[in-house]
């Protein structure tokens, strides 16, 4: 089944066609003919049990992995590991993971500046963007603090800032609040939704938390490597 949003408003930013993916030489089938579309500025939650293929789908959209069969487009450009992968990672997509995956020993600001350094962004532009993002995420007073001295929520907000530094069109979030307590989780998620909405970013988020998922524009359920149905459209 193809997961679509049922309306034609907005440009198609994410598109997957008949994706098949397996591991261990085909022994473990993870994606079994998944087709999916998401429009510009939409927030889409991918729900389903562990191992149903949510993370794999995110990885394929981010160019971190290749499908056995099928095709992926991000912002109209075919995702191919051989061509344009760096451009995709530097300018089109941002990743947030369950663990913050920040680099210890560096400050909050330095961690956030890593994507801009990789992309060769002008330092003044990068600092300006960093100021704006930390202001919005309430981290501006922690810019020069080492990561080790931040709380779990602050670290995850830092990871969110880092993912958005290069103004990506798409934010791929793999259980972004999975390691946080309920209250912090809600705060970080509010922030995430607010940021993607104001910046016009398309959000594709894998989550187990139905209460959070229901706050997205769309909720897509996956099971056993397939999309069951577009179970909820706001």
């Amino acid at each position: 089944m193809k997961a679509t949003d049922g309306n034609d408003n907005g440009r198609m930013v994410l598109r997957a066609e008949e994706l098949w993916k397996s591991y261990d030489e085909g022994a473990i089938g993870v994606l079994k003919g998944v087709s999916f579309e998401a429009r510009e500025g939409q927030s889409v939650a991918l729900c389903g049990p562990s191992g149903c293929g949510k993370s794999t789908l995110l990885h394929l959209f981010g160019g971190l992995d290749t499908p056995d069969r099928g095709h992926v487009w991000v912002n109209g450009v075919h995702v191919d590991r051989q061509h344009g992968l760096l451009r995709l990672l530097r300018h089109e997509v941002g990743f947030v993971f369950q663990l913050h995956n920040l680099i210890p020993g560096l400050t909050l600001a330095e961690n956030c500046l890593i994507p801009t350094m990789a992309a060769g962004t002008d330092r003044r532009v990068a600092i300006e963007r960093l100021r704006a993002l930390t202001e919005r995420t309430g981290l501006s007073h922690r810019m020069d603090h080492p990561i080790q001295k931040l709380s779990g929520g602050e670290r995850q907000r830092t990871a969110l800032c880092r993912a958005l530094m290069n103004k990506p069109r798409v934010l791929l979030a793999d259980e972004p609040t999975g390691s946080l307590d309920e209250k912090t989780s809600a705060q970080v998620f509010d922030l995430l939704l607010n940021l993607v909405a104001t910046e016009g970013i398309t959000l594709l988020m894998a989550t187990h938390d139905l209460s959070l998922a229901q706050r997205c524009d769309r909720l897509v359920e996956m099971r056993d490597g397939k999309i069951i149905e577009p179970s909820h459209v706001r």
């Binding site: 990885h59 971190l64 990672l89 995956n101 210890p104 560096l106 890593i114 994507p115 990789a118």
Partner: protein, 370 residues
């Protein structure tokens, strides 16, 4: 700056491991610098013995060691009379042992030799050194280790010699040597009528080619070389230099293996971090640059530490009385450049495999195991 901070942060995380790698390179560089400098100094001293007040050295063609060279007295006498020659001095080299001293270098020289005439005599009179004298003159250090005084008898090899005088030179070999009248040395070493070399001073330096041609024509079994030519072509010097560089090279190889080990461990322990950098847009080149940057910093710090340690060791060796005159702490800038370049190359070579491994890390595999 952030790239450098990334590199330094990683080195700082494993300080002991980084320190051991720096120490490995430092020891290698210090060993190379010390061995090469000492041997080059020794070569320089030996060359100075030959070039003392002369520009050309004549010796037997195709001998691998000057101690085995035989130049007939007739040839030495003839060369003295050639028009372009200001003076020519036959010198016979010999090595013997003395009680408690396995190596004593002996120089059989004529009374007119610059080594006798221009040296500073501490005790004795240079006029006492004649062809007929049945005695020897000692370098200052030789006099010390042989516990000899002027007028005493000193055992050298299978014989005993009367000490005529003691002289001081800045050359370690000469200062630790025994000077015999040429005739006495020829008899002592069973080389009557022969010398090892003839050192020649020209009236005009431009006539070197003419002298070399004449030697080749008149004495085909002899060869005449200018001092610099000799230093570059003498096989013993080549062997010494090759040995020094080989010893230093082995040291650097070990240092390189140390760096390789450190960098491999460094990459293995932060596979996930490298994966995150890739996800954040780091190219394979940037990942490799980070690994090479780390090894370059370790190499440079190791090289600088090693240079400081090496120079300190050389000065310390120079202060040891027994080595006085043998250690020349003249460090050529070219040698410094070569040592630093080799240390850097070692670092880069040691980081090749770790960098390749880091470049091939697949972010998706590293991230799958949260």
């Amino acid at each position: 700056m952030l790239f450098l901070k990334l590199i330094l942060t990683n080195l700082g995380r494993h300080r002991i491991r980084t320190f051991i790698s720096i120490a490995g390179i430092a020891f290698s560089v210090a060993a190379m610098l010390t061995v090469v400098t000492i041997l080059q100094g020794a070569i320089g001293m030996f060359s100075n013995i030959l070039s003392n007040d002369s520009q050309i050295i004549v010796f037997e063609r195709d001998v691998s060691d000057l101690f085995f060279s035989s130049v007939p007295a007739q040839a030495a006498d003839a060369i003295t009379t050639w028009p372009m020659v200001a003076h020519a001095n036959p010198v016979l080299f010999g090595i013997v042992s003395s009680a408690g001293h396995p190596i004593v270098t002996c120089f059989g020289v004529t009374p007119s030799d610059a080594r006798i005439q221009k040296a500073r005599w501490i005790v004795g009179d240079r006029s006492s050194f004649s062809e007929n004298a049945n005695g020897v003159v000692l370098g200052e250090r030789a006099a010390q280790f042989l516990a000899a005084r002027v007028g005493s008898s000193v055992p050298i090899g299978h014989a005993s010699f009367h000490v005529l005088g003691i002289l001081r030179t800045s050359n370690g070999f000469e200062d630790g040597g025994v000077f015999m009248p040429l005739g006495v040395a020829q008899k002592f070493f069973h080389k009557e009528g022969l010398s090892s070399v003839v050192t020649v001073k020209l009236r005009n330096k431009d006539e070197a080619a003419a002298l070399k041609t004449m030697v080749k024509e008149k004495y085909p079994n002899l060869i005449a070389l200018e001092d610099t030519e000799f230093t570059h072509s003498y096989s013993q010097f080549k062997i010494l230099k090759a040995t020094a560089w080989a010893v230093g090279g082995c040291g650097l190889l070990l240092g390189g293996l140390g760096i390789a080990n450190t960098m491999i461990m460094s990459v293995f322990t932060r596979i996930r971090e490298i994966a995150i950098l890739r996800v954040n847009g780091f190219s394979e080149g940037q990942i490799a640059g980070m690994i090479f940057g780390e090894s370059a910093i370790v190499s440079v710090l190791g090289a600088v530490t090693g240079l400081l340690a090496g120079v300190s060791v050389l000065y310390a060796l120079k202060l040891i009385p027994a080595l006085d005159g043998y250690v020349d702490v003249t460090i050529h800038p070219l040698l410094l450049l070569i040592v630093i370049a080799l240390a850097l190359l070692t670092g880069i070579a040691g980081a090749l495999y770790p960098a390749l491994y880091a470049m091939r890390i697949r972010a998706v595999e590293a991230l799958r195991f949260e």
